[in-house]
Symmetry: C2
């Protein structure tokens, strides 16, 4: 199934892409950066780096963290963080619909795969 | 200046993204995979791997290569290759227009940067 993945480059350093949005969704769901990292098979260090980077991109926080000793405490998305995820996913869904025709056009020209039935 | 970068995932192995389209554009312009690689600061090996991968994605060739001894000979885009680039760039341009409002919304919330005037 074809899907369109968006990356939004604000400038040459700051961007929001699929992996970052997925991390935010996992944090929202699991209430913890450590658990989100684990769910995504990502190192805790990398998840923290990304969380810092996302927070540093905007003038207001996206992720709020509460320290809780070893293991990292809890984390949740701010109202703005929720809007960010919603807007990104909304654009993604709209892109898939809006580009249905050119995507279908390309799909029809894909090479046959070994797995004929999927 | 915010821009939207698209990646089209046909399945879990095959995709077309910004870097691949850029490679195609350079090949179209320069008439050579070696020159395209150089222009993109990419190894020749990597450019060949990508060219093979792009050609293998579709039922018909995207890039035609003519061997010419050391240095790699010439290369050009097929008619389908030109359509692929045009369609991808068309979707990208449309995405930027269509998402102008949510993108503006996010832009307004960006953290101030050190370079105040740009």
């Amino acid at each position: 199934m074809t899907r369109v993945v968006l990356r939004i480059d604000f400038d040459d350093k700051r961007y929001i892409g699929h992996g970052r949005i997925e991390l935010l969704e996992h944090i929202a769901e699991l209430g913890s950066i450590a658990k989100a990292a684990k769910a995504m098979n990502m190192s805790y260090k990398r998840a923290w780096y990304l969380a810092d980077s996302i927070n540093g991109t905007f003038a207001e926080p996206v992720i709020e963290r509460q320290h809780g000793g070893r293991g990292g405490g809890s984390a949740y998305l701010t109202k703005f963080g929720q809007i960010l995820v919603r807007d990104y996913r909304g654009m993604e869904t709209r892109a898939l619909k809006l580009f249905a025709k050119p995507l279908k056009h390309l799909e029809m020209r894909l090479a046959p795969t070994k797995r004929a039935h999927r």
